[in-house]
């Protein structure tokens, strides 16, 4: 760990009215690290992602991206967001644009690239997620898995330094999650720094460098996947994992 962290979060709090959603969150992320956030529903994992790209600015606490404090006042947040890619559970593809248009629109109007250059890179990003053949299709003409891969390509088009995934496969039919997870795994292998909220424990075990277990708005435990799944240190993590195992037993066909 001699590298300087790409992301540093210090004492982050988030409150909606009188409801505390995140409390005292602190951690650092090294370049190319993959962090997978797991935990029961409603523990603030999604809110944390939205705090990190300032879509939901933290109530207090500090966030550094590389050596810039992005929570500092007077900072152009749009400039910050383009460096942090975000993939949404509900895709949020731009419905009036084709797959190619979805990837290009940010390059053209945020990065200010000329059209032909943007198109060239957009085609490359679509190739990267295996969808070059579907470039001319509108979101409504794509399957859920394809939509989410376009969502990933759209984020990649901004050349982000960090990628956030907010339950990227939760809205997908089970048979479509694989193609999205495969693209994410490829990204991780290519060295992208990734923070992923997911319930896909298989993916977590295989791709994560570190599991971040959250409960009640706090990070309760963080460990390498092997350690976390084999011998969780806290009672809450043990309980969470045993619940997962139970549902997996029920789901498993006899």
């Amino acid at each position: 760990m001699t590298l300087s962290p790409i992301l540093r979060i210090e004492k982050l709090h988030k409150q909606f009215g009188s409801l505390t959603v995140l409390k005292d969150i602190s951690f650092t992320v090294q370049p190319s690290e993959v962090l997978v956030f797991v935990g029961p529903s409603g523990t603030g994992k999604s809110t944390l992602m939205q705090c990190l790209n300032l879509l939901a600015p933290p109530t207090s606490g500090k966030i550094w991206l590389e050596d810039q404090e992005i929570t500092a006042s007077g900072l152009n947040r749009n400039q910050v967001r383009r460096r942090i890619g975000m993939v949404f559970q509900e895709f949020n593809l731009f419905n009036h644009l084709t797959a190619l248009g979805n990837v290009m629109v940010g390059m053209r109007h945020v990065r200010g690239m000329p059209k032909d250059q943007a198109k060239k890179q957009a085609v490359m990003e679509l190739e990267r997620v295996g969808l070059a053949a579907h470039a001319a299709k509108y979101p409504s003409q794509l399957s859920g898995g394809q939509k989410q891969r376009v969502g990933i390509a759209r984020a990649l088009g901004m050349n982000p330094h960090v990628m956030l995934f907010d339950e990227p496969t939760s809205a997908l039919d089970p048979e479509l999650t694989g193609e999205v997870l495969a693209v994410m795994k490829q990204l991780a292998d290519d060295g992208m720094t990734m923070l992923v909220v997911t319930h896909e424990m298989g993916f977590a075990g295989e791709v994560a460098d570190r599991i971040m277990f959250m409960d009640g708005g706090a990070i309760v435990e963080q460990a390498a996947p092997a350690d976390f799944f084999r011998c969780p240190q806290t009672e809450r993590a043990r309980k969470f994992l045993s619940m997962l195992n139970q549902t997996e037993l029920i789901d498993r066909p006899s």
């Binding site: 790209n53 879509l55 749009n78 400039q79 910050v80 967001r81 383009r82 460096r83 942090i84 890619g85 975000m86 949404f88 509900e90 949020n92 593809l93 731009f94 419905n95 009036h96 629109v105 940010g106 109007h109 945020v110 509108y138 979101p139 409504s140 003409q141 759209r154 984020a155 088009g157 901004m158």
Partner: protein, 226 residues
């Protein structure tokens, strides 16, 4: 019947002069309504609270009072405060502002239908609110608003009929003059009704074609036209 056609032939030139005015006033009023209504819709969703309240008051005023009362206030009332307009200007202003209140509501509904997720996704790739509106939200909202907007256009063509009451020689104004000149009110107003019907039909057809041309797979809300 033959009598009706020869009557129609005699009065048609005058009526067509009125039609030209009706079309001109409809278009100008719709454009004014669009230019004022769209920003009102955007500000009503994204503006500061006091702006939202102000807009709500404006919308309530124009949607909650009869068009004819508005017209009379502008044309007969405002001159007493030292603000006077020509007949045509009074017609443009009144119909335009009246329409802006309705268009603002249509556009607001359409923007809401686009959904907050689109704005979030646009912000997430670094777009400012303004850029997101311009490149992501409004292109979708305007398409979604087309069927409602088509209704507004049809209504506008019919609403223009009130302006003969401030002596603008539009289609209705011409009809009134012809009717009192020739003493044939039934024939006159049947003819006028047919012309309004034709105007509304053509306008609806034009918007229908535009709607089809601009349609994007998966981007529509089905709204029955009235």
């Amino acid at each position: 019947m033959i009598e009706f056609f020869s009557f129609a032939r005699d009065v048609l030139p005058d009526l067509l002069a009125g039609v030209r005015l009706t079309i001109l006033i409809s278009i100008v009023a719709l454009v004014i309504g669009f230019v004022i209504g769209l920003p009102l819709a955007v500000l009503r969703i994204h503006g500061p609270v006091w702006v939202k309240r102000l807009i709500f008051a404006y919308l309530t005023l124009f949607r909650g009072t009869p068009l004819l009362v508005q017209l009379f206030v502008v044309y007969y009332g405002l001159p007493q405060l030292g603000i006077s307009f020509s007949r045509m200007t009074a017609a443009f202003i009144t119909l335009g502002m009246h329409s802006s209140a309705y268009q603002a509501e249509y556009f607001r509904g359409a923007i809401a239908a686009v959904g907050a997720g689109q704005m979030r996704a646009a912000r997430a790739i670094g777009m400012s609110r303004g850029r997101a509106l311009r490149h992501i939200i409004l292109p979708q909202a305007l398409r979604l608003a087309l069927p409602a907007w088509s209704n507004e256009m049809v209504s506008m063509i019919k609403y223009t009929a009130v302006i003969f009451l401030i002596a603008v020689p539009d289609l209705m104004g011409q009809a009134k003059m012809i009717s009192s000149r020739m003493f044939m009110p039934v024939q006159t107003y049947i003819l006028v009704a047919l012309i309004y019907l034709a105007l509304v039909g053509l306008a609806s057809l034009a918007l229908y074609v535009i709607d089809k041309k601009l349609s994007i797979p998966g981007l529509s809300i089905s709204v029955k036209t009235r």
